[in-house]
């Protein structure tokens, strides 16, 4: 009897222990820690927090190169990966309370506004950014700036492009190069729906990448340059209506399974040839490689269709700014290293080679190193950077303000849902309500 009780007790402990561990995993303890440069004596220790393990790989490579080229200032980097929410919360609380922050950290663009409030607790990076500005896509730096100070360095431009599944397009009898305007796109979509089992595209009902890309392409945004809310302006209402029409009027689009383009369900749907095309930023390439292997060799990248002749064919979307916090004891070293990793020509080539990102430094786009064969070229096709060059000047600035996180929240949880899925409100009503909700927060 006693044995049985013991066995029962120990299994209970085991069960609860498992439960505890799993809860910790999900609620966000450290997921991964990588130490680079610990073999070098006297190396200065720097910590780096991120929410995407791939970014650690990139910095790992950068530290090795830095230590080779700067033997007098070696670095030992401790890179720690946390879940997205956890990392941003931890960092915010550490900066708020004045202790516990790392030297270097990644901050995702939609969270960045939080860190620009009040007295910014990040180091200004002007002395390393300004000398290079001529060769950089400056809009990528303005989004992380406040009062003339640059606080973050991005990983990519995030040029929005159209991914076409050429197999489906051929089956439908559409030449993807003939699609120049959104009208052409709708027409092609009708052909796809008529001739194949697939829909033309999918739209997000719980995220903003369908909406924000399109309004930015048309020169609009959530906020204007002064930070005033323009979310409910005519262009935005019209654009949201266009997205609605793709689904319900032209019937060529479907709401993305899972609600957005990063959902598990969506990858499966797309991988099975569910949609003939998809509008997402360039950095989405990695998702194709990782989660949609059946589409290998079938996908083609093209600029976005234009709204009118001569209009923009892209928009810069998404981003993660790497920052140096003011709690670092080695601010000079951290800044120099960050510039070496992400602003130098070689660093930018590595952004492409390791991460498959369109690097913010446009003078490397046509360098021979970028043309070397890699897994992205193999999956897609080899004229990716020619397309980027073509659309380089067609990327509008985004106006990121302290309220950007709020705007995003409104779009994700209310606007897209009520217009596209629920159909309970018109584009105009939904955007006006959202704009009012944001304005009401700005009065104080």
């Amino acid at each position: 009897m006693r044995k049985m009780v013991l066995a029962a007790l120990s299994s209970v402990f085991l069960l609860s222990a498992c439960g505890g561990n799993n809860a910790n995993d999900a609620s966000g303890d450290l997921e991964e820690q990588t130490v680079v440069g610990d073999d070098i004596e006297g190396a200065t220790e720097l910590t780096f927090w991120n929410f995407q393990e791939l970014h650690t790989q990139f910095f790992e490579d950068a530290v090795i190169r830095w230590n080779e080229e700067n033997p007098d200032r070696p670095i030992q980097l401790i890179a720690e990966t946390y879940p997205y929410d956890q990392m941003h919360n931890n960092l915010l609380l550490a900066l708020q309370s004045g202790s516990g922050a790392p030297d270097i950290a990644d901050i995702e663009i939609s969270q960045f506004a939080n860190y620009l409030q009040g007295e910014v607790q990040l180091e200004a990076l002007n002395d390393v950014v300004e000398p290079e500005l001529d060769d950089l896509i400056t809009s990528r730096f303005d989004i992380y700036a406040k009062d003339g100070n640059y606080y973050g360095i991005d990983y990519h431009v995030g040029a929005t492009v159209m991914f076409y599944n050429e197999e489906i397009m051929n089956e439908a009898g559409v030449d993807i190069d003939s699609i120049e305007t959104w009208d052409d796109y709708v027409e092609a979509g009708e052909q796809v729906v008529a001739n194949t089992d697939a829909v033309m595209t999918t739209v997000e009902s719980d995220d903003h990448f369908t909406f924000w890309c399109l309004i930015s392409q048309r020169g609009s945004d959530y906020f204007d340059e002064n930070g005033d809310v323009i979310l409910d302006n005519e262009t935005n209402v019209d654009t949201l209506q266009f997205i609605y029409d793709l689904v319900y009027e032209h019937e060529i689009a479907e709401i993305a399974p899972g609600g957005y383009h990063h959902a598990e369900e969506y990858y499966g749907f797309m991988n099975d040839g569910g949609a003939a095309s998809l509008m997402m930023p360039m950095w989405y390439m990695g998702r194709f490689l990782d989660y949609m292997e059946d589409l290998d060799g079938k996908m083609q990248i093209r600029p976005l269709p234009m709204w009118e002749e001569g209009g923009n064919r892209s928009a810069g979307m998404g981003g993660t700014g790497t920052v140096v916090t003011n709690q670092t004891e080695n601010s000079e070293l951290a800044k120099d290293f960050l510039a070496f990793a992400k602003l130098s020509e070689e660093g930018n080539v590595k952004l492409w080679e390791i991460l498959g990102f369109d690097p913010p430094r446009h003078d490397v786009w046509d360098s021979p190193a970028m043309a070397e064969d890699n897994r992205f070229y193999q999956y897609f096709h080899d004229d990716i950077f020619e397309i980027l060059h073509d659309i380089r000047d067609e990327i509008n600035n985004l106006n990121i303000t302290e309220q950007t996180t709020n705007a995003q929240q409104e779009i994700n949880s209310n606007v897209m849902h009520s217009v596209l899925r629920d159909q309970s409100r018109t584009s105009q009503e939904a955007l006006e309500d959202a704009a009012d909700a944001i304005r009401s927060r700005m009065i104080e």
Partner: protein, 315 residues
Amino acid sequence: MGTTISTEKGKPLGTPNSPRKRSSFLYSKKAAPYIFVSPFILSFLFLFLYPFISAINMSFQRVLPGQVEYIGLRNYERVLNPTFYTALQNTTVYVILTVILLTVLPLIFALFLNNRLMKMTNFFRAAIFIPALTSVIVAGTIFRMIFGDSDMAIANQFLSFFGFSPIEWRYGAASGMFLMVVLASWRWMGVNILYFLAGLQNVNHDLYEAADIDGANVWQKFKHVTFPAIKPIVIFLTTITTINGFRMFEESFVFWETSSPGNIGLTVVGYIYQEGIQRNDMGFGAAVGIVLLLVIFVVSVIQLYLTGAFKKGDS
């Protein structure tokens, strides 16, 4: 010097001076209670009272990195907004449903498990209790798969087997609430059954015999013998289920994380998290927290008053 000698002298007796003092202190009837309650007092002070006071303080502040300023009642003025009402409404519906489900069903199950005619009661007791040991995050992940959007998900296959069309569970207000309530019920059912079972053990069997002699039927026996005995447990369970319901966070988080479509899964605590941490508005989050505290306080007092918990103490 003197002490050394006295210790040496005392040694043969086997009771050195200082240990005796220590043990007498430990055995003292005056000190022991304080020592035993001190862990609780300390944790109460540091983990409850201090955060509570600083939350009240913070609710009058605007907290930004490097800048903290007092802004009077402005956080409270902003609390009563449409999103807060949505959150409060969701939470209230959730509380009502869980209170009903988590008292009625466990009571019925406990009555069955307590019945001598029931077979394999030990197995069922263990089986029903296991969910309480499972992490809600793990359980939630599995629930998310069961109630997936695709036609292939188990719940939808079940529906189509009976000729209903599949449902997008996580996108409708009613189905979303259903998911949260089902997860909570699954999790806490076993614990509540245990409480009831414990209560049922205390029912005096002589009373049943007396009732039998008087010719009472099953319902009369339940009403006049069983229920009065377990009434305190019912009061206890409705109270803690209400409080737990108002501070619910995980059940919503596992299905939608922090933002649900149309805020169908937004709870008050979820709202505090969203505003205080994600949107970096600690002062406002604290204000919502204080309002929630008042809501829980008022509801609990009304509930205890209605169930007669106060009267009992008086008589």
